[in-house]
């Protein structure tokens, strides 16, 4: 078996998308401390808002991306105000079940508004240029650059800014953070804004690279969770490493296993990851 470098490149693209998405998920988990099943549907919502602006209203893609990211940031806050805020003191398990209800609602709202079938952004489809035998597209290169920029930005946010340090503090110990004078409800608001925006961006990237579908986020949720868990849930650095690992493994796997089992890579990674290393690649237990 020869490993075509094309598979690796494909994996890096998919890995970028998973990393970005996993980052948003893990940020939200860090502070809210529950697994948000609706996260995939946040991604889809971002992608569809951008689709409406780009393909339906005919505005340039850049404007559409801004609208999708901004719209989903606002959307995440709205969902929190309407639903999650009322469950702030509930157990993580209750919140997880609540988020299933939210997911059902959002996904079917998307189907009701935009229909059940797939769509594309208004981007021309053409043969991709190739470099050293690897085909790449402008969108793919943009996705990788954008994800690297975002990852850097989030790193700076979490390490260098006051709000970011407080976010990390709150994900470590919410009560102690309050004792230090931090209004954690406000932090929660910021986290929904950041997490929603990142989800929206992840969804748009996915839509650009693949297709915009109502369940696009839900079906990507397992690889994203796998990445998050492999990297240690709540740990942004781990989420990124896990994202690239899953993305590349998944694409390269078609060389060794039948392609219909490609999806099993993420499933197996998630299961094995949780069973063997519940604390993640970098090992610091957050629970």
């Amino acid at each position: 078996m020869v490993l075509d470098p094309q598979f690796v490149w494909n994996g890096i693209v998919v890995g970028s998308i998973i990393s970005v998405s996993a980052l948003g998920l893990t940020l939200i988990f860090g502070i809210l401390n529950f697994i948000n099943i609706a996260y995939g549907d946040y991604m889809a919502t971002g992608a569809y808002i951008a689709f409406a602006v780009n393909a339906q209203m005919g505005l340039p893609l850049v404007v559409a991306i801004a609208a999708g990211v901004g719209g989903m940031a606002a959307g995440a806050v709205l969902v929190d105000k309407v639903v999650f805020e009322h469950f702030r003191t509930s157990s993580p398990v209750t919140l997880l079940i609540v988020s299933i209800g939210v997911a059902f609602f959002i996904r079917n709202l998307i189907r009701a508004v935009w229909g059940p079938s797939g769509n594309f952004y208004d981007v021309p489809i053409e043969a991709n240029p190739s470099l050293f035998g690897v085909r790449y597209s402008v969108e793919q290169v943009s996705i990788i650059i954008a994800s690297l920029l975002l990852l850097a930005a989030v790193y700076v946010l979490l390490r260098r800014t006051r709000i970011g340090i407080a976010m990390r503090a709150a994900s470590d110990d919410r009560t102690l953070t309050r004792i230090r004078g931090v209004d954690t409800e406000r932090l929660v608001l910021y986290v929904w804004i950041a997490g929603g925006a990142i989800a929206g961006l992840g969804g748009i990237m996915l839509g650009l690279d693949a297709q915009i579908r109502p369940n696009m986020g839900f079906t990507t949720l397992i690889p994203i969770f796998a990445a998050t868990i492999l990297g240690g849930i709540g740990d942004p650095k781990g989420a990124v490493a896990g994202g690239f690992a899953i993305g590349i493994l998944q694409e390269v796997s078609v060389v060794v296993i039948p392609s219909e089992y490609k999806f099993a890579v993420a499933l197996a990674a998630l299961i094995i990851g949780l069973l063997l290393r519940p604390d993640g690649l970098f090992g610091e237990a957050t629970r």
Partner: protein, 319 residues
């Protein structure tokens, strides 16, 4: 007559869902385990029973299945139940020590893995194609009787629901159930009582999975044909909604929740095409399911028939 037929068919579906909900209730209601693999147990029950009771009959290009036994239906149903329980046991052995929401993710992934295998191992399951010609139990006998087959099957399914209900009610209020409740409230308490918590969790998981397998077998033998698209995660989520709606911890509630969900779905079929947003109706219906789930958890977390005090002990962690 036709209306009676419809009621019987809806009743059979509701009975099958009730069994699923009963199985889920021992996991969640009694033991506090988050099982997101219910669709897989349902599938294993259905496929085991179907494979055991059909010969390898298919001909033509898509006939890839080489396994089939043509055994009596009873053997199929029994094996379906046992194998589903076995799968529950296997999933539980690996993951039952995990915390609640992690367990949810592992079980969800395991269920998807099971579905992927069913979808792709055509030699065993016919893969994406429909596994058809599944026999109905006692069909030739029943047709000689003055009752419709649907009535017979309705009575069969609800008879089994009743038996299962009584068994589980008794188990839940007996010593075994009390240990499960102790585990649900707090692992440490049960440990302190000298109970092997993992073993009880394993048993609970296997028993509930077995009931789901029974439901799968019964369903397969009613609908003639099964295929992997019947076992998507959305089925699991729907059963969750039924259990929470009915009241976690209450078997009567689980049955009531399942019946309410099935009847609601059926009732919306009578909405004429002339109402506004009729094209969006299937989606609005599922949006409604989502709303119900959230609203119940907020206003009546103990569900329609649940016990509020027990619920509080089990699920609110505080800061």
């Amino acid at each position: 007559m036709a209306l009676l037929d419809l009621l019987l068919v809806v009743g059979i579906i509701a009975g099958v869902y009730s069994l699923l909900a009963i199985g889920m209730n021992i996991h969640w209601g009694d033991t506090g385990l988050l099982n997101f693999a219910h669709a897989a147990f349902f599938a294993v029950g259905a496929y085991t029973s179907a494979i055991l009771t059909t010969p390898v009959l298919e001909t033509g290009l898509l006939a890839e299945r080489v396994v089939g036994f043509d055994l009596p239906v009873v053997a199929g149903i029994a094996a379906g139940t046992v194998l589903a329980a076995g799968l529950g046991f296997v999933i539980a052995t690996t993951s039952v020590r995990l915390e609640g929401d992690y367990l949810a993710m592992v079980t969800l992934s395991s269920a998807e893995l099971v579905r992927l295998v069913i979808h792709n191992e055509a030699w065993l399951t016919t893969g994406a194609q429909t596994l058809k010609n599944i026999p109905r139990p006692l069909e030739s006998t029943v047709t000689t009787l003055p009752v419709s087959y649907d009535l017979f099957y309705f009575l069969l399914v609800w008879g089994l629901v009743a038996v299962t209900y009584l068994l589980f009610e008794r188990m839940s209020s007996g010593p075994f159930g009390r240990v499960l409740h102790a585990i649900r409230e707090n692992d440490d308490v049960a440990l302190a009582l000298g109970k092997d918590v993992s073993r009880f969790k394993l048993k609970s998981f296997a028993i509930g999975a077995g009931v789901a397998g029974l439901a799968g077998s019964l369903w397969a033998h009613y609908v003639y044909a099964i295929s992997p698209v019947m076992f998507l995660p959305s089925l699991t989520f729907l059963i969750w909604t039924a259990v929470i709606l009915g009241g976690a911890g209450s078997y009567a509630g689980a049955i009531l929740g399942a019946v309410v969900i099935v009847v609601l779905r059926q009732v919306t079929r009578f909405i004429p095409g002339s109402v506004p947003f009729a094209d969006q109706l299937p989606y609005i219906r599922l949006m409604f399911v989502g709303v119900v789930l959230v609203v119940v958890l907020y206003y009546r977390p103990e569900g329609l028939l649940g016990n509020a005090q027990r619920l509080q002990a089990g699920t609110s962690e505080g800061e």
